[in-house]
Symmetry: C6
Subunit: 74 residues, 6 copies
Amino acid sequence: MSAPTATKIGLNTLLPSIRRIHGIIREKSEVEIKLVTGDQLRGKINWIDDSCICLDTSGHKLIIWQHAIAYIKS
Amino acid sequence: MSAPTATKIGLNTLLPSIRRIHGIIREKSEVEIKLVTGDQLRGKINWIDDSCICLDTSGHKLIIWQHAIAYIKS
Amino acid sequence: MSAPTATKIGLNTLLPSIRRIHGIIREKSEVEIKLVTGDQLRGKINWIDDSCICLDTSGHKLIIWQHAIAYIKS
Amino acid sequence: MSAPTATKIGLNTLLPSIRRIHGIIREKSEVEIKLVTGDQLRGKINWIDDSCICLDTSGHKLIIWQHAIAYIKS
Amino acid sequence: MSAPTATKIGLNTLLPSIRRIHGIIREKSEVEIKLVTGDQLRGKINWIDDSCICLDTSGHKLIIWQHAIAYIKS
Amino acid sequence: MSAPTATKIGLNTLLPSIRRIHGIIREKSEVEIKLVTGDQLRGKINWIDDSCICLDTSGHKLIIWQHAIAYIKS
């Protein structure tokens, strides 16, 4: 399933946050995602869309709702 | 009650998150849903609409509000 | 106070979640509502509108904000 | 400060939730408001607008943001 | 930095909540702000805009996001 | 990656909160950011956009979602 280009979804690719995350995806960097639940998840981001981020973490694919994210550390 | 096709409801089926969840529904895969309350629910997703996800779990149907979901693990 | 028909309020009655809850109201089924606070409320749903759900529980009428609901179990 | 009529502010007075709360205000009924923080506040509602509810409780006026309300028990 | 008049920002000054807070600002009243985190902050409100409130508290200026406020006690 | 000027992103630079944060960025002031999770983060703000704030903290760049911020102390 090739990720649709950003223009087909509502992401504003001018935003520094979206540009930063697209850079993290391109570089396949390892990140830490802290959730509002207190969970700390480590892995690589596959894609981001208007509502979610897909994180590849120890063999599982997590669809994480952005509203549950506190921060991404890279 | 046959699930209305996505076009009758506001889901953007171009989004990778919606396409991924529609795939999970078609494949009737078992998933784990982590809520912002800390609850971890296991079951099969019946449908998704603009606000909620229906999870079939140990004989109960849960209407889960998307705003309460942290992530779906599949 | 007769509940106004859905068309006078903004509910999208095509959504599976709204159709499911309207079914629960018609059948006067007992439900469990889990809140993001961790509270678990049992009772019968009187009505649902754009922002709230009214639950009849042990003689009290609770106006529950939908943003505080994690899930409804029926 | 006479409370502006609902039409000057964005409240949809057709919604059962708004009609119920306006009834509670007219009847000056004592209510319990449960917040998402777990706080339980008792008092009388002075007014409701698009974002907040004003509760008169033991001599203090609380401006409560609706996003922090789990439910109102009356 | 003189606070821009409300008309330059999106505040609806007809809302009782905004009128109440503008009154608190004019009177330089001491208030208590309870956050959804459970924090209780005391101080004087400098300004309010569409998203935030500025609280002057023991020599610090806090920019508080309204989404994190449970209530203001005055 | 030079931060796009505010006009290319949706920030309302008339808002006192945005003007205050742009001032903090220009002055490279050290701030404390309290999250709704209870986390307290110290560092310097690199940029702010419609959804996030970038904080430079002990060698890491955190992309913090504004919805997770309770307040900024400066």
